[in-house]
Symmetry: C2
Subunit: 401 residues, 2 copies
Amino acid sequence: MNKFELKSLLDDGALGTPAGRIVRMLTERGAMSAAQLSRLTGLAKSTVSTAVAELRRTGMVLEAGNEPAGGVGRPATALTLNPGAGTCIGILIGQTEIQLIVADVTHTVLADKIVVMEDGYTPAMAADLIRRLVAEAYETQWQSPSGLLGVGVAMGGPVNPVNGQVLRAGGMPDWAGVDMKELLGPLFEGVPIFCDNESNCSAIAEMTWGAAQGFDDFVVYTLDLGVGGAIVSGGRVLRGVAGGAGEFGHVVIDPNGPLCRCGNRGCIEVYASFRNLLPEAEAHFGRPLRITDVVEMALGGDNYCRLLVERAGEAGGHGLGLIGSVFNPPLVVVSGRLARTGDLLLDALARSYERYTLVKHNDVPDSARTIFRTSTFTDGACLGAVGLVLRHHGRLVGQAA
Amino acid sequence: MNKFELKSLLDDGALGTPAGRIVRMLTERGAMSAAQLSRLTGLAKSTVSTAVAELRRTGMVLEAGNEPAGGVGRPATALTLNPGAGTCIGILIGQTEIQLIVADVTHTVLADKIVVMEDGYTPAMAADLIRRLVAEAYETQWQSPSGLLGVGVAMGGPVNPVNGQVLRAGGMPDWAGVDMKELLGPLFEGVPIFCDNESNCSAIAEMTWGAAQGFDDFVVYTLDLGVGGAIVSGGRVLRGVAGGAGEFGHVVIDPNGPLCRCGNRGCIEVYASFRNLLPEAEAHFGRPLRITDVVEMALGGDNYCRLLVERAGEAGGHGLGLIGSVFNPPLVVVSGRLARTGDLLLDALARSYERYTLVKHNDVPDSARTIFRTSTFTDGACLGAVGLVLRHHGRLVGQAA
């Protein structure tokens, strides 16, 4: 079975075949046993067994080793896709940077380039740079373009995942209306392109390979220059009818508060984003600072920086408490550069969350408590764009799986 | 094929068979064409065709008539379950009433009884009453108990849908810890019992037969004595790790506001619930009033009552705006007795929503706007409990469908 056959197995038309469902499950979730495959696909064990035998015979699926079988019986054999079966490109088009990753279907990164961009760079500049980055990747690690399964794009603003059009003024207002598939299509002829915003891509990375593995329902809460996030429900990233789901930074926590850049008053972002807190720190220290400087100083024990991180955590936790009363999630993955401060941030966040949310920690048993964790990836969006390709559009545009 | 075979087709074990998946889809969604069945189940058209032919031969599935096929080609034949294939019981255990419905698998209501209860009625009192209501239903319209597929219970407080245990202090604090399956099991020997809270059951009724038909993602927002709601995502009602998803009444809109009965300050419910507004109206008119009195007077043009409904709508819309920034839903179904005032409430609600939410009406095209609608059912929870049985537990406890 060659690389083109993996492509066809990931097509929507193949969703009904056992092999198609098994391959899609392995691309989405990584290694798993035949028993897990049977449970998650809803296919009978005998059907899984027959299809897996055929997929192994053709070299599409490999045995990845043994997994403990929950303590009872002999260990189950974990199955995984053959890394040689194909590659994916992930691209991050961020507010201040463009990143390009090439990865195989087991999401091993084969090439990774990142370029810092000037404020207000144009779509044409982005396309030129991406063309160059792809050419470099071809020349070096990534030899053959024939097995390219798809291109995933993580956008620094809201984007319609179905048609690839950048939506209303968001993080990248100059890009509103740009058709990403039209912009990048000529660079990747005939290869499918999938788009989503960067928060949603980060959520896919955490779900597939990071802090949210094993969770079908969770919230990503990003504290960085801005405040944002994503909601995953039933393994599906929620988008909202206008791409506005998970816009946590713009939940109003004080209707009489200061004006936010979105036009409303008293949004979480006004209080918890480093866009607003960084200038305070710069005034205090009398020099220009980046978020990472404040993070380093806080980790080094500087009291002013520790208090600043705690303030962001308290304001962020207040807003997150409201989100908790809406979703009551099993897990919150805290991401963004502030998350590197670990417990310093998490403690302030959880304390404030507890005060403002409905379900209180001590009122419910352990199993019903919301877990707070920092993210596995600091810059997971580009890796998540690879995940976007592997998960394909079927589950991602809101269709039933 | 007899009634017991419908039961077995709805069992989890049958999920993998084409007939099982088709029957489950028809119980969940009502009438649909073979083409829709193929699309929604992921089964090949030929597989659907073979399975439907067999189901029709045995009398399990009937032709319901023709449906327009989207304007092109000849109309598709709509398929539906045979109403004689089985019955379900739906029970509402509310804060002030107990209701019992018997319905067939096409959700035609065969019997419907409602009994007003004293404040603080006990689980034992409820069980006795339900036993009596069931016996009465047997004696009258509903002749044979042999086709009973299951019992659905809509609780006036949070309940664990997996084990049927009533959770932490909610709308019915005296019931916390009660095991509903243990309480009602002896009344329905061997018949499966499914539980959920009343807001979630209302959402199921609206999704299956009401204002949210055709929507896989929407929010129910209830304005009544209390404020509450439910979130449906990908056709699944979200519950939250402690049953606290959709507790919209307790989203804090003013951290310095008055104390709420939940212990927090400035919750939506403090401003928008008739628990707080009704006493004002009683003071104004100098006599005891029910919500429906205020609704009737508002509809009759009474200015004071109209203003009171608008105040609830404005406060409710403020909170809903925050929920909108989190979820950006395609549809909000406004339910509860206040919804009977129609546009009077909806206009105030939408105006206030627009002010506090991130994505503004005029910033996006029609197709990306949130729709506001009043609910189809005034008391949909008990009917939704029937829907709970028809949808079965598979999709409802958070497992992938």
